[in-house]
Amino acid sequence: MVDVTPADAVPPAEVAEMELYHPHSWWTKYVFSQDAKVIAIQYSGTATAIGLVALVLSWLMRLQLGFPGTFDFITPEAYYQFITMHGMIMVIYLLTALFLGGFGNYLIPLMVGARDMVFPYVNMLSYWIYLLAVLVLVSSFFAPGGPTGAGWTLYPPQAIMTGTPGGQEWGIILMLVSLILFIIGFTMGGLNYVVTVLQARTRGMTMMRLPLTVWGIFTATVMALLAFPALFVACVMMLLDRALGTSFFMPAVVEMGEQLQHNGGSPILFQHLFWFFGHPEVYIVALPAFGIVSDLISTHARKNIFGYRMMVWAIVGIGALSFVVWAHHMYVSGMHPYFGFFFATTTLIIAIPTAIKVYNWVLTLWRGDIHLTIPMLFAMAFIVTFVNGGLTGLFLGNVVVDVPLSDTMFVVAHFHMVMGVAPILVIFGAIYHWYPKVTGRMLNETLGRFHFWVTFLGAYLIFFPMHYIGLMGVPRRYAEMTDVTVMTESAHHLNSFISIMAFIVGFAQIVFLFNLIWSIRHGREAGGNPWRATTLEWQTPQTPPAHGNFGKELPIVYRWAYDYSVPGAKEDFIPQNMPGTFGPSREPA
């Protein structure tokens, strides 16, 4: 990594120019497009649309919880359906698809200096299969019996039994088929992201010069390729249990006084398979957020990221560790105490690389030239929120503390803080940050600040009280708790308060969507590099980048992504593709 100065020190291209498909018609340009940027926007649009459905579902749930008995159309069955669909959509179809399919597709080729993903055709298929998965999921709302109400974890045996909404109707089948399709589609995209990062970087772009955004998305994608298989297998087996009457997960069950034909299956096996996917999934969502927020903080604090190498190793370490912690979701499943001891230990070990990351973000901010732009506000809000959510994770990671807290609203508050609100804050920050590159215009500042403050403060007003009522012992997944001792008068009031806040925060998201659409035409012209950032996507000849991203010549990278405020340099940022030596760079040697 000595090739900082002379251009001729850059090694020759190892790979010939990528052969791109050049669209001939409107259809192949905007609909069946093989351009990763268009695919990214398709992914993001679809994910946002289905995310809105999940948002409305959360409102409906809050209506019921905050004002029980007021709304007749929310039956207990419907409540379970809302819970299930809300959870599944948010985790899989919104967060995973948006981070990897949306941001991954847009940013990876641009940031590593490639013209496109390595296999654009497969990449296109990935989106269309994802869309099909979403449509199958949505169709379950209109199927006889409605969508499944098994809870987003779909635990058997109840997931496929009569008492559960959709259990013996269409709901569960459509859910499982949709998940299987999602995994197939994701695999097609995921292989592309991984190979593009590994094998299609531009000259000078070593792995240790990649922006942390790419590191986060890359590691998350590798994890997803290894974790989704477990969900795939679980879905196939449950589908067979439901459709063919096999007994993989079904023990002998007496239902309504009648012995079911199932016999000898293991519900715990499903839990293991599900959480072998489910826990890495938390980090599949979190790692891209970690990466993106690192870049947001560095850019908007005009300072190099603190401890770049440690940041990379922390990402990789978290990714690896997250495969050996899954059973901490199963402490109350009756597992052997030593088993719990092992998983509690590994769970707490994850706190170390995570804490390294938090310290490094704070130290990046330390004495930085902090610009309180909207992306920066969201980034800082993320740090605070993530620490909050992470600390309650330490509670729940310990078996003895988890057992009384398990299945209470405390758990709901914890994971919404850490994997709901925190990554979503990063997504918002990232959208405010990269929107100018995608559209050429800035998002409206006033609306943006309104959106930020309402979302940030509102999220706390929703989830802080929720921790409290959880500690009081209020269980989750109950549609109505009017005559239960744990539901005190104050808990009721808090519930109503949370519901009202949920509506306000939800309303702010509508404002945000309005801003997204309004600014396409009416936003301030952004220019090519409004944030004065170093990474390659801001150095493209056109904004938005044209097909093939980089004009005639691919950029050559001479430095890492974090040369901000280098003493002696004319500007306070040095783009990655600018040759020459400027002052003491902090790039690790």
Partner: protein, 240 residues
């Protein structure tokens, strides 16, 4: 696959041995796996992911088998064929395994002739591989039919644990699907080889990209993987 596996990059080929070499590759420019094309890298990573799928299937099968309280049907009786008046245990499965492993051999030869630009032999060997694969699937269909006529169902069987039938049909079915997909793609690639697509650089119908003879090798990676998986299924299902 537009890009070529450049073996002459102008860089010195000498790399440090062992871990240092791995570290040198990973910290190097442009590509983490030197001289590995995109297509080949993608296939390897896909196979890694697929390994996890089969791994989960087999682990679930082992869990089911180890935890059932009902006796497990005896494989050497269940999978026996009555030939010439005597029951020969595992005979069909032995033939199936032999056929599939042989197809790996023909596939490897096809890869070799592909790199020698011998269109005819490559295509013939690929078609032979496909034929062996189809034979395997055919014999699997025969075995399924036999078991079904004997009363084995996904939800139960005459001899013991219901999970026997469920795991058997699921796992062999999933593997058979892999083989079938492999056969289809073998035929497609063989046709391209035969027609000389890789010599003249004819763009693909869907991808509009020019393929290369390396596609034969990538196809081979998949095929060998499917064979390897079969060895594990064979060991865990029929020999346990």
């Amino acid at each position: 696959m537009a890009e070529t596996t450049l073996t002459h990059t102008g860089q010195t080929e000498s790399r440090p041995a062992g871990w240092q070499g791995i570290a040198a590759d990973w910290s190097s420019d442009q590509r983490a796996f030197k001289n590995v094309s995109w297509g080949k890298a993608m296939m390897w990573i896909f196979l890694l992911s697929d390994t996890f799928i089969f791994g989960c299937f087999l682990l679930s099968y082992m869990t089911a088998r180890a935890s059932t309280r009902v006796p497990w049907p005896n494989p050497s009786e269940v999978f026996a064929l009555r030939i010439g008046g005597s029951d020969i245990p595992l005979i069909l499965i032995a033939i199936m395994t032999f056929v599939l492993i042989s197809s790996s051999g023909t596939m490897a030869m096809a890869v070799n002739f592909g790199y020698r630009r011998d269109r005819r032999k490559t295509a013939i060997l690929m078609l032979l591989t496909a034929a062996l694969g189809a034979t395997f699937v055919g014999m699997q269909a025969f075995e399924w039919t036999k078991l079904i006529t004997e009363g084995v169902r996904p939800w139960g069987n005459p001899w013991g644990a219901a999970q026997f039938g469920s795991t058997f049909f699921m796992i062999t079915g999933f593997h058979g699907t892999h083989v079938t997909i492999g056969v289809i793609f073998l035929i497609i690639v063989a046709r391209k080889v035969w027609r000389g697509d890789y010599d003249v650089g004819r763009p693909g119908f869907f991808t509009s990209r020019r393929g290369r003879y390396e596609n034969v090798e990538i196809m081979g990676l998949y095929w060998h993987f499917v064979d390897l998986v079969w060895v594990f299924i064979f060991a865990f299902f029929y020999l346990w």
